[in-house]
């Protein structure tokens, strides 16, 4: 069955649309096909093939990228063509029109042009041949018929009553099935949230990420760079139990407010299980295959520097518990309540490589890893996306900011996982384990081109020269 989707077209997020629809289909285990496989992501009207109205409603029950779902009737380049066709298929509308007890309304919209109320009324009147017998009802009618005019973008070409207007590109028509979940973008708006920080993920993107992660009731989802908990909140809003960790406990704990205040605001208090402060490369999990999904926005080294515990090779190292001169009576330095363990800057390539093997270890087979990969547009190539045996790439959606972008990468752990984990300590590379070929391989790597996310923080500060 064909359905017409009216898409939201948020600026910069066009690439996120199809992966979201595909993910929702996967979540509910149904098939979706696109009438035009090379769909133009700049156009807001999309025809998809679904088995029945049930699948259409399931799509609407989770999607952020679309606004409404319609039973597809027709699309044409002119109203003449549209009317001519509709008169040959009265079975589409007669059952509603001929029933005096069926309430109805027409919804006339446009994309790329403003149309006046008078023009809308003229459009509705052009369908008089349908002869609806029932009463018009503006709120909650039994049937809502949609007519949408799509206009060419760019310079206006025509003159109409001393106005410069665009030429109509297409007219689309259908019968309303349902709304989407797009209203959640407003519900989760950072400006309205109880607790946010300067790295909090914007509402729309954190909701799209939760859909990519297939967050759902009964599942356990993890964010290893939890910060102020944006991804925990949206994943839990979709029903999942969530767990967060971060090397910096201050962002999770908050001062006067914390993640728990936001959780209470959205009614997901019982769903955020715990947050813990630790370095992912020094993680405390005793076993793998715990989580149904890992969803995260790693620090890019711009507003928040990625760091890990320890010191850089050249600095003085400490191998034993030490006493602080002058405070010997208080006990060992690391046991004092004000102890802050040393940490050092963690380079972006290392962050991403570690995240990927960490996920490989912690994900259940079939589980998804969803994360943002920041990249210098001048340097990026598709090969920059890490490849690890055991994780399969599902989608790569670019959000472009001019000189740099971030790409939402979705991967799935295929079963069985590979021998990659044998050379790692619970998903993390250690200097003392692994094959002897490591040193040679690293030498080769250094000689070849660096990926677009290498040294990202420093390049960002330097303006990507």
């Amino acid at each position: 069955m064909k359905f017409l989707l009216l898409c939201a077209q948020p600026m910069g997020l066009e690439e996120f649309r199809q992966p979201e629809l595909d993910s929702i289909a996967t979540l509910f285990n149904f098939h979706i096909t696109y009438q035009d496989p090379k769909q133009d992501i700049k156009r807001p009207y999309l025809i998809v093939d679904l088995e029945s109205e049930r699948e259409a409603r399931l799509l609407g029950s989770r999607s952020i990228a679309i606004k409404t779902v319609w039973e597809y009737w027709y699309d044409a380049s002119t109203y003449e063509d549209l009317h001519q066709y509709l008169k040959t298929v009265p079975e589409l509308w007669e059952k509603y029109a001929q029933s005096p007890s069926t309430t109805w309304k027409f919804d006339v919209g446009a994309y790329g042009q403003v149309i006046s109320m008078k023009e809308k009324v003229d459009v509705i009147n052009s369908f008089a041949y349908m002869n609806f017998l029932g009463d018009i009802r503006m709120k909650g009618p039994d049937v809502e018929v949609g007519v949408f005019e799509e206009y060419f973008q760019g310079q206006s070409k025509l003159e109409k009553e001393s106005r410069s207007v665009h030429e109509m590109r297409r007219v689309w028509m259908g019968r309303k099935i349902c709304d989407s979940q797009r209203h959640l973008v407003d519900v989760f708006d950072l400006k309205k949230r109880a607790y946010i920080g300067n790295t909090s993920m914007e509402a729309e993107v954190s909701l799209l990420m939760a859909n990519q992660a297939l967050a759902d009731k009964g599942k356990l989802v993890y964010d290893p760079f939890a910060g102020t908990g944006s991804m925990l909140l949206t994943s839990s809003a979709f029903g999942a139990y969530t767990f967060g960790s971060d090397i910096d406990g201050r962002q999770m704990r908050g001062k006067t407010k914390s993640i728990s205040h936001s959780a209470e605001q959205y009614g997901v208090t019982g769903k955020i299980i715990d947050c813990a402060s630790f370095d992912m490369t020094q993680h405390p999990f005793r076993t793998g295959e715990i989580f149904d999904a890992i969803i995260t926005d790693p620090p890019y080294g711009v507003r928040a520097g990625a760091k890990r515990l320890g010191r850089k090779e050249t600095r003085r190292k400490v191998y034993e518990p030490t006493l602080i001169p002058g405070r010997e009576s208080e006990g060992f330095a690391h046991e004092l309540p004000d102890y802050v363990p040393p940490s050092f800057a963690w380079e972006m390539t290392d962050v991403i490589d570690s995240l990927v093997t960490y996920a490989l270890y912690l994900l259940k087979p079939g589980g998804r890893l969803v994360f943002f990969l920041p990249t210098d547009n001048a340097e990026y190539a598709d090969v920059d996306v890490p490849v690890v045996e055991g994780l399969q790439l599902i989608s790569n959606s670019c959000q472009d900011f001019g000189k740099w972008s971030r790409r939402l990468i979705t991967m799935v752990k295929v079963s069985p996982a590979s021998g990659v984990l044998n050379d790692l300590d619970r998903g993390i590379k250690r200097l003392d384990i692994g094959t002897r070929n490591d040193a040679a391989a690293e030498g080769e790597e250094a000689a070849s081109k660096l990926p677009g996310h290498a040294n990202f923080g420093r390049k960002f500060m330097q303006g990507f020269v």
Binding site: R253, F278, T281, R286, L309, Y319, P341
Partner: protein, 131 residues
Amino acid sequence: MVRLITQNLLSCPSNACAYPANFPLSFRDVSTIEVVETDFNEDFIRRHLPKLEWNALRKSAAELGNTDLPEVSPDLSDAASVPVEVIKTLHHVLLEIQVQDGSMACPSCNHNFVIKDGIPNMLLAEHEVRK
């Protein structure tokens, strides 16, 4: 929070320790425990069963004053076979008992992980970091 579902997954990450000697972490100096009623989701608990360490969970629950769990573990590898009464007990033990302030200590190296406002600090000291 620190719920038992979380604590049952945590071991000491110090370079001086290895599983199973570093598990479970023992609760110490627990000054605030809250019992918070939480919606029961049977499917979630059943899905999590294979990941539980039963004896450790019983021991840790007892440290917090709860002895609801039977000594003999049900067959955790056959989630569907576990009776719903046990699932309900697990729900209470795993999710509804929450440690807000206290600490967890490693049974092997004695590193004390402080829990403040429900968030455990599991950062390692410099000499404990694995390279």
